[in-house]
Symmetry: C2
Subunit: 328 residues, 2 copies
C-alpha cells in the first residue's frame, strides 16, 4: 500500500513538473505551439545540422496587432489625439483648422478621411518640438492614466499573454528579441522593457529627425517635425539591417506591413521561422483580415499558405488573449 | 629550509594570481588606469549611491584613433582607394576624371586637396551599387590581404591592446560595449565581433541609404549612392539615441569628432565617465593633436582639462600599443 502511495506521489510530482515546465501555457496544443517548440529545439541543439550559435539567434516582432491590440485604431493614435486636446489651449488656431478641428470635436471619421496627410499633421504637431527626455516622460504619463475605449483598461494591459510567454521562451533559449514596428520608436521605448522585457536598444520603429542643441548649458536632443524613417513594409528589412546588421532567423507579424520582414527573414540560409497572428476572435479580441484598413492581412496570408509559414488562429490556438483574463 | 621554500612558493603563486587578476595588464599604473577601475567599482557595487543596474551600463567607443590607428589616413580610405583600382577596368572614364584619376596615379595629395566632395565621390563609387551581403564580403576579402603602409601588418592588427583589455574588463562587469564611429557602419560590422568582441548590432556609424529589391525571386538590400546619416560630431548623440535609446554612462574618444558624444554622456545624472586617447607616441604609434587634419584633438582636450575628464597619454600610460608587440 505504501509503495502504491509512493508511486502515486511520484507521478503527481512528475505531472506537476511537466506542467510547470510548459513554456507556453496559454497556447492550446495545436499546430503553432508545436511548430514553435520544434523550431527552437532544432536551432538550439548543439551538433544538429540546423544548430544556430546563440549570437545569431535574432527574433523580430511587429508590435501593433502582434504583441498588443490595434483596434479600433493604433494605440499611438489615441495618444496623438489626447495630445491634441491637451495642447489645444496653446493653439487657438486649431479650432478652425483641419484635421485638428475634427479631433477636438471627436469627429474621428473626418480625421481618418483626411488620410495619411491628416495623420502626419497630427503626429508632427504632437510628437515634435520637445526634447527626447520630455517626450519619453509624456508617453509614460499618458500610459499611466489613459484607458482603452472598449475594455476600459490601460493600453499596456492589452498585450497578448501567449506572446509574452513566447518572448520569454525565446530569451530562455538565448534568442535576442527585437520589436520591429511601424509605430514610433520613441513611443515604444519608454515601456517596452517593463511590459515586454525588450530593452530600448532592441526597439526599431519609425522616427522623426532629432538635433543636438545646447539649452542652459546642457546638451539636449530636440525632436524635429520631419520624418527620419518609416519602418513599415519594405522599410522593415532596411530598419533591421540598419539596427541589427544581421538577418533574423525568426519573424513574427500580423499584417501585410510585416510581409517583407517575413520574406527577408526566411530568405536567409539555414533554419528559419515565420509566423503570422490571424485575428479571428471577435468575442475575446477582434476579427479582421483582408479588408481591414488597420492591420490588413491579405498578401502575406496568401504567401503564408503557399510557403507553409505558421499562422495563429487566435480563437483556436490561444487559451487566453490578455493577461487580465487570468483573474476573471 | 623546506618551510622557507614552501613560503617562497606560496608567495610566487600569490604574485602570479595577482598578476592574472589584473584586468588591464598593458596599462601602466598611472592615473587613467586608476580612474577607470575606480569608476567601474563605484557603479557596480550594489548598495552604493552610484550603483548603476547592469542594463544601464552602456559604454560607447569611437573607433578610428580610439580602438585602432587612423594614420597616415583613415583605414577605410585605404579600402576605398584599393576599390577604385580594382573597379577601374569597369570604369575607363576614371582615367580622365577627378578624383579617380588622382587615385589611379597614386597622387594622394590631389585626392585630399579635393576635400570632402572628392572623398564623397570616391566613397559613393566604391561603397554603393552592391547588396549589403556583397559589400560585407568585399570588406572581409580586402581585410584578409591589405597591409598597412607603415607596419606592413593587416589593418586589424593595428588595434590597441590596452583598449581590447578595457573592452573585455567592462563587459566582465556587465557593461554593453558599443562602437559609435564616423566611419561606415557596414565597413566595421564584418569584423567588429571577431576583433573587438562587439557584435554588429552594437555598431553605430555613418551610412548610405539602402533599398529592398527582389532579384531572381530573392529579396536583397541594395546600397544606394545617397547619404543616410553622418555619425560624427553633433551626429554622435543623435546616432546613440537612434540606436540605443538611452544615454551611455561612459564614453571613449580621441578627437573633436567625439566631443559632443562625451558632452552628451557626461550631461546625464549619476556617475559618468569620459576619456580621451591623446596620441603622444611618435615612436610606437603617431603623435598628433591640435593641428592634425585627421583626428584633430583641440576643443575636446580643452574641455577635458576643464572638466577633469580622463586623458590617456599613450606614451606614458600604455605599456604596449599593439597586440603584436607582445611577440617582439
Amino acid at each position: 500500500m505504501r509503495v502504491i502511495l509512493f508511486v502515486l506521489a511520484l507521478c503527481l510530482v512528475a505531472a506537476t513538473a511537466v506542467r510547470a515546465a510548459d513554456p507556453l501555457p496559454s497556447w492550446n496544443e495545436t499546430a503553432p505551439k508545436k511548430s514553435i517548440i520544434a523550431f527552437v529545439q532544432r536551432v538550439t541543439k548543439e551538433g544538429s545540422p540546423e544548430f544556430v550559435p546563440a549570437a545569431e539567434r535574432i527574433a523580430v516582432f511587429d508590435n501593433d496587432g502582434t504583441l498588443w491590440s490595434e483596434q479600433p485604431m493604433y494605440f499611438q493614435l489615441f495618444f496623438a489625439i489626447d495630445r491634441v486636446k491637451t495642447l489645444a489651449p496653446m493653439h487657438p488656431e486649431w479650432k478652425d483648422k483641419q484635421p485638428f478641428k475634427a479631433v477636438l470635436e471627436d469627429d474621428l471619421k473626418t480625421v481618418l478621411a483626411g488620410g495619411e496627410h491628416a495623420l502626419l499633421d497630427i503626429v508632427m504637431a504632437t510628437h515634435a518640438g520637445n526634447t527626447t527626455d520630455e517626450f519619453s516622460q509624456t508617453v509614460k504619463e499618458w500610459l499611466a492614466t489613459a484607458k482603452h475605449p472598449k475594455t476600459g483598461r490601460p493600453f499596456t494591459d492589452m498585450v497578448y499573454q501567449p506572446m509574452l510567454e513566447l518572448l520569454a521562451y525565446l530569451r530562455a533559449n538565448d534568442f535576442k528579441t527585437y520589436i520591429v514596428s511601424g509605430g514610433g520608436i520613441e513611443f515604444m521605448r519608454p515601456w517596452s522593457e517593463s511590459v515586454y522585457g525588450i530593452p530600448p536598444e532592441q526597439v526599431i520603429g519609425s522616427s522623426i529627425k532629432t538635433k543636438l542643441e545646447i539649452r542652459d548649458g546642457t546638451p539636449v536632443l530636440v525632436r524635429l517635425p520631419e520624418i527620419n524613417f518609416i519602418d513599415d513594409k519594405a522599410g522593415k528589412p532596411v530598419g533591421i539591417n540598419q539596427h541589427i546588421g544581421r538577418r533574423p532567423i525568426a519573424a513574427f507579424g500580423n499584417s501585410d506591413g510585416d510581409h517583407q520582414m517575413l520574406q527577408w527573414t526566411t530568405a536567409g540560409s539555414g533554419a528559419r521561422f515565420a509566423l503570422l497572428v490571424h485575428h479571428t476572435d471577435a468575442e475575446r479580441e477582434w476579427a479582421y483580415d483582408r479588408s481591414s484598413s488597420i492591420g490588413r492581412l491579405d498578401k502575406a496570408l496568401d504567401e503564408a499558405q503557399e510557403k507553409g509559414w505558421t499562422v495563429i488562429d487566435m480563437k483556436r490556438d490561444w487559451k487566453l488573449i490578455f493577461p487580465f483574463e487570468k483573474n476573471n
